[in-house]
Symmetry: C2
């Protein structure tokens, strides 16, 4: 689909800004571009591809004549304005969690389930960043052997909580290095030189936080199967924009490391980075700004002669494959 | 045992310095104290409990008349000087990995296997920091139900690589915040605002690093059983001195969360910190400088009606319970 008139909703946010860069880098086709944001940001000027745009206020009438809108606003903003967009004939690709688990809304990782995109009724959802990065690393292995159980612990960057959180990490580090109290507004606790359980709220009935439950439910929807048992622990670390994940897989069938390496290397959007000699594996500092998800530390459990228990470590840019890039890729397959 | 004459080997290092603080805090009994270090540090003055000590050079003759020596030097230094100490009649409590897997050397976590200490033949070993912190959190549960499999991902602080590494993390953060290249001498990659696979060297035959293999082998020795399958992934994060660990357990018998909480709360050296309402769990910034290992995020797998798959998150000060405190506790039970 060639979107004649394209809108970015939440254009001034961390993900919105990355979306613009991704559109430029991929030379995404459009005739006209409209940048929308909250009243607070309306009126701001953004220069994009040599042209100056004035950010317009997001209202229910803003979607007249717009063919495609990439939403990167919070869930409640999306819930409020996406129906108006659909009513106006706009196709919505939404980055929030608002519609991800709606059975009428396809949830897409283009390298994994692009065919689901065809079933859309106006809205398509972009999965949670941790879910996308995990599935990119695991899906090539899942396809080969099946996976019975997945235990994952995340090392999540500040960017997942937006531009203000990234700035806060920087301000905190500066304050702490100067011996001052670190500011904590975006996050409940200091993230600089610290690690804490993910700041999304917890379900009292089971002790899981929202981020962890997203990783389970969204993965099942994307894979089209809830057979895979997933045990997630989501943790924030003091990095700026790339998420790392330590993953343990129990395969259904005996695996082969050479075959796994080959499958990962040839999978679009995945890079193998597994240099045991130089102890050089995927790292947030090196993966920041990269489109692909990097995978390394591939190894069997120490006692596993059956080759069914695999460990790996992966890193992906939260703002790119975890958000903006995946959303633009969804728009591309439409 | 009342150590009349006590020596600290490696007194100027990060762990040695913590050992002095622990001795003072616990009012460890001795009549005379000798501080030993490499020729490079010999001659330095250290004031301890109001008295000035001159650091003496570590030589094979330094142990004459010394009853107890707490070693916190590297493995090769220990291998060179511990035999001379034992020959001089000194009991050695060693913090390095040099003798940990020696079948003649007890490997002790005083809350777990104090009875093993009696079997010593002159040398007792202090386990690896990640091993101690993990076992403190897991042992009360292991005792209740047995554990079939343990999957652990670590979030390890700079302190595990010594005082120079802690300083490097600070220098790196300052350099990066100023837009400069971060120095990397203690670590192969920048640790500030980053995460990387543990810097210990890897075994090419299985892809594990030394730190991970220590966690497996030492745990088996301390528990006196190699039935427990352990799948470790050791990762460094940009924190200064407390290690965090995300742990998934497959229990042998059905567990009960109230019983687990009670067992953890009443276990010496463990604190339960599991406030799901305020999303407040163990954090390196809060646990730094604390003697105890903090445990939280206790929950069953989402699909686990059998209550056999448990997740938890724990944090312990790497320099204290992970090193200096545990070593002094070993000396106390002698």
């Amino acid at each position: 689909m060639k979107a004649r008139k394209l809108a970015i909703v939440g254009a001034t946010g961390a993900v919105g800004q990355e979306m613009l860069k991704v559109l430029e880098k991929r030379d995404f086709p459009y005739d006209e571009l409209v940048l929308l944001a909250s009243a607070r940001s309306a009126g701001k000027k953004i220069t994009f591809r040599g042209k100056e745009y004035t950010v317009q206020e997001l209202t229910e009438n803003a979607f007249e004549g717009i063919d495609l809108a990439l939403f990167s606003a919070g869930g409640s903003i999306t819930k409020k304005f996406a129906p108006a967009a659909v009513k106006a004939g706009t196709i919505v690709v939404d980055n929030s969690s608002a519609y991800r688990m709606d059975p009428e809304v396809p949830l897409i990782v283009p390298e994994i389930n692009p065919e689901d995109a065809k079933k859309h009724k106006g809205i398509l959802a972009n999965p949670n960043c941790s879910t996308i990065i995990m599935l990119m690393a695991v899906y090539p292995i899942y396809k080969l052997y099946g996976v019975r159980r997945l235990v994952v612990s995340t090392y999540q960057a500040a960017s997942g909580a937006g531009a203000a959180a990234m700035q806060e990490l920087e301000d905190q580090a500066k304050a702490m290095l100067a011996g001052d109290q670190p500011p904590t507004e975006a996050f409940p606790f200091p993230l600089a030189f610290n690690v804490f359980s993910h700041n999304s709220s917890l379900y009292p009935e089971n002790g899981y936080n929202q981020e962890e439950v997203k990783m389970v439910k969204e993965s099942h929807k994307i894979l089209g199967s809830s057979n895979l048992k997933i045990s997630p622990t989501c943790i924030r670390v003091g990095t700026f924009r790339a998420h790392a994940e330590s993953i343990h897989l129990e395969l259904e069938k005996e695996g082969d490391l050479d075959e796994i390496r080959k499958a990962l290397s040839s999978f679009p959007g995945v890079q193998l980075k597994d240099d045991t000699e130089k102890n050089h594996f995927p790292m947030p500092l090196e993966v920041s700004g990269q489109d692909d998800v990097y995978v390394g530390r591939l190894r069997w459990d120490l006692d596993d002669s059956e080759h069914k228990n695999l460990q790996l470590f992966c890193v992906g840019d939260q703002l790119l494959k975890g958000a903006a890039l995946n959303a633009v890729q969804i728009a591309e397959i439409l």
